[in-house]
Amino acid sequence: MNRPACLILVFAAFGAQAQEGHGVTTADIQRGAQIFFTSCASCHGPNGDLIPGVNIASNRFRRAQTDSELTDLVRKGIPGTPMPPGNFTDDQAFALVAYVRSLTNAPRSASGGSLPGDSARGKAIVEGKGQCGACHRFGGKGSFSGPDLTSIGASRRPAELEAKLLDPSASIRENNRPVRAVAKDGTVITGTLLNYDNYSIQMVDSTGKLRGLQIDKLKEYELLKTSPMPSYKDKLSAQEIADVVGYLGTLRDQPR
């Protein structure tokens, strides 16, 4: 999507917050995040608070209360303001609203944003002492042990990136779920879960090899609730964390 709309949502300090009771999944919110970062963040900023007096994360809107009204707003824009109409499908608008609604519960920066990151220094850390490429891929290079970070800045808020660096296991997205299986001959197989049911597991291992495992051929398996990623809380200084976050936020290329 070529930035079809810079969605200047107009907020107000008044107006009842209205969460409608229909179902929203984490996958909806993640899809909505990608739409937000592609279509909205250039004006609203990655945290949704770049425009003075407008903080999307507050979830309080002057011109919209219900999800239907918010959906209408992101599609039609606000005449007379820089907020243009957005050419979204029903599903895209739904996901975008789900993401915007989710921001009230999203992690806040531990530093409160008081430490601006230097992306050049962050790049040096990512490629140097952070050794991030040992597990992650950047521009087609690196390992399949962890998620591809080539476009991570186009789908994560800085506060989320910071939280992940400090406490990787606090929240694991379903498409990054680590899996560990032990074959009956004792061979240990680790990787990222792609799909599973009662009888089989589909995963990708650290080399990028897709592997289908038949559960009756395994001694055991576990879908891990902790991330294999180490915390950088004691490995990097607060400034270095801010620098890495600053750099990761610039990564918006399509994966190669």
Partner: protein, 543 residues
């Protein structure tokens, strides 16, 4: 902790190697558990060395899994893709261009890659895709809107996309690309829209075009003088199906589509090279080594879209390097693939457009498309078409999905070329549904029927024929246990005895079979997989 963690992960990082280098494709017969290229190997045989499923136990085949299409079928779409199988992962293309990576044992999905063709896409003959190619960790797919796409086989993300031809002018890419050494070979379809065809080689890393062979030669290129005036400009010459490669001769063989406009030959006097031909090219440069034209000055829509099958065999008592091709024009041909010399040509269905072939294989033409219409056998869909044949070196037989005794009334007219519009120059009226058959058939077999036929390449004689009431768009698979697998429009999927044609097993899939079957094995268990209707069906032996 971080040091230990990195130590654990680094070996994985170092193992990021290409999973399918070209050597594996070249020597695909050494790993029959996989299906690494469109025809199973580069020689086009579609013959598997797997022998667990035999004529004796084929009756014990049962359904193992079905992969259903996730979206409602589009109008005109048809599931024609040959799957690839790499080390337990099956890759397929659901129409029109949705790529899916599937656990080959369970049918469960690893990843999907959606692709939405632009609205300008034009497809005369179905919004179809015939499959993928793989090299290293990259999958290659043509799209119905004229692009070539590279995807990462590990997670399905798009690496590059390049235009092959403009969809507004009718260019589409339905062919499964062929990997030859370090090149991706493909070309556009769209002859019915008056394209000017070509076969091209692309860089697997970037999509950059490395060479192009014009199937419709430009002024100054050999063969342009076989087109009257400027008729070459919209001369057709589509690429519809995958070619073959002989590494010892370093030669690429590819079938070329019909001339445009299809039925009106009066506006393009001449032989109209290289339409309705097989071309032999140097795969490093795209230079022509030789060609053989099956239907000079075609007026019947007789594309040579069939897979050229390469075999080294004792032919009429003498070892020869053969190229065999069952042509849409109704003749089965055997050529010497070193030189293009015509060795044999014999009809495998009823043929009336030619009275025979001369000593050099040129047809003795007796039929034409005319303004008043002329009845021509076979009909314009041909004696066979894009659906692949198979050849078994064990039985020495060539297996052809055949449309028996069909005819059409071929009528010519003057059509003006207008970009993006059909440029047929006439029409063919026939009794068989052309692209997508409905579920009900009441036609008498007098007007034509389907068959899998086994032909002896030494004589062109039909050794056996397995008849079906309706015609068939299914490809054929042969195995080293002397089985032949093929399907029907009715939805039956058959295992036949490769030596006698006896039916050993059948399953009703409930949908038209319009693709070539593949076979593979995982953990020592052999499977046979074929698309039918909108879904992919995979069978194995009952345990």
């Amino acid at each position: 902790m971080i040091a230990r963690f990195l130590l654990l992960m680094l070996p994985g990082a170092l193992l990021l190697t290409a999973q399918v280098p070209f050597d594996r494709i070249l020597q695909a017969d050494r790993e029959p558990q996989n299906w690494l290229t469109y025809s199973g190997n580069v020689n086009g045989e579609r013959y598997s060395q797997l022998t667990q499923i035999t004529p004796a136990n084929a009756k014990n085949l049962e359904l193992k899994w079905v992969l259903q299409s996730r979206a409602p079928a589009e109008s005109g779409s048809k599931y024609e893709a040959t799957s690839l199988v790499v080390d337990g992962v099956l890759y397929t293309v659901q129409p029109p261009n949705v790529v899916v990576a599937v656990d080959a044992v369970s049918g469960r999905i690893f990843w999907t890659h959606p692709y939405s063709p632009v609205a300008a896409a034009r497809a005369c003959c179905g919004r179809v895709n015939r499959g993928l190619a793989i090299l290293g960790n990259t999958l290659f797919m043509g799209t119905i809107d004229g692009n070539l796409v590279a995807l990462d086989a590990r997670d399905g993300h798009q690496i590059w996309i390049v235009p092959v031809g403009r969809p507004e002018a009718g260019y589409s890419v339905t062919v499964a690309p062929l990997i030859v050494k370090d090149k991706v070979i493909a070309g556009p379809a769209g002859g019915e829209y008056g394209i000017s065809g070509f076969l091209a080689a692309y860089d697997p890393a970037t999509g950059k075009e490395l060479w192009r062979f014009n199937t419709i030669p430009r002024p100054g290129e050999p063969g342009n003088d076989t087109w009257a005036g400027q008729s070459w400009v919209h001369g057709g010459g589509s690429i519809w199906t995958t070619g073959s490669f002989d590494p010892a001769l370093n030669t690429l063989y590819w079938g070329v589509g019909n001339a445009s406009p299809d039925w009106n030959g009066t506006v393009r006097e001449g032989d109209n090279l290289y339409t309705s031909s097989v071309i032999a090219l140097d795969p490093d440069t795209g230079k022509l080594k030789w060609h053989f034209q099956f239907t000079p000055h075609d007026e019947f829509d007789f594309d040579s879209t069939q897979v050229p099958v390469l075999a080294d065999a004792n032919w009429q008592g003498r070892p020869r390097k053969l190229l065999m091709l069952a042509n849409r024009n109704g003749y089965f041909y055997v050529l010497d693939r070193m030189t293009g010399e015509f060795l044999l040509g014999k009809p495998f269905v009823k043929v009336t457009w030619a009275a025979g072939l001369d000593a050099k294989g040129r047809p003795i033409r007796v039929g034409h498309s005319t303004p008043d219409g002329m009845v021509i056998y076979p009909e314009n869909q041909g004696g066979t078409n894009w659906y692949n044949p198979a050849y078994s070196p064990r039985t020495g037989l060539f297996y052809i999905p055949s449309w028996m005794d069909t005819h059409s009334i071929n009528t010519s007219r003057n059509d003006e070329y207008r970009e993006g519009n059909m440029y047929g120059g006439g029409t063919a009226t026939h009794e068989m549904p052309g692209i997508r058959a409905g579920p009900i058939n009441r036609r008498l077999t007098d007007s034509g029927f389907g068959a899998i036929q086994a032909v002896d390449p030494n004589t062109g004689d039909v050794r056996w024929q397995f008849k079906m009431v309706d015609v068939t768009d299914s490809g054929v698979l042969a195995t080293a246990s002397d089985l032949v697998f093929a399907g029907s429009r009715e939805g039956y999927f058959y295992a036949l005895d490769a030596r006698t044609g006896a039916m050993l097993w059948k399953a009703m899939t409930g949908g038209q079979i319009s693709a070539g079957p593949v076979t593979y094995s995982v953990d020592g268990k052999q499977y046979v997989s074929v698309p039918a209707g909108n879904d992919l069906f995979t069978f194995g032996l009952r345990e």
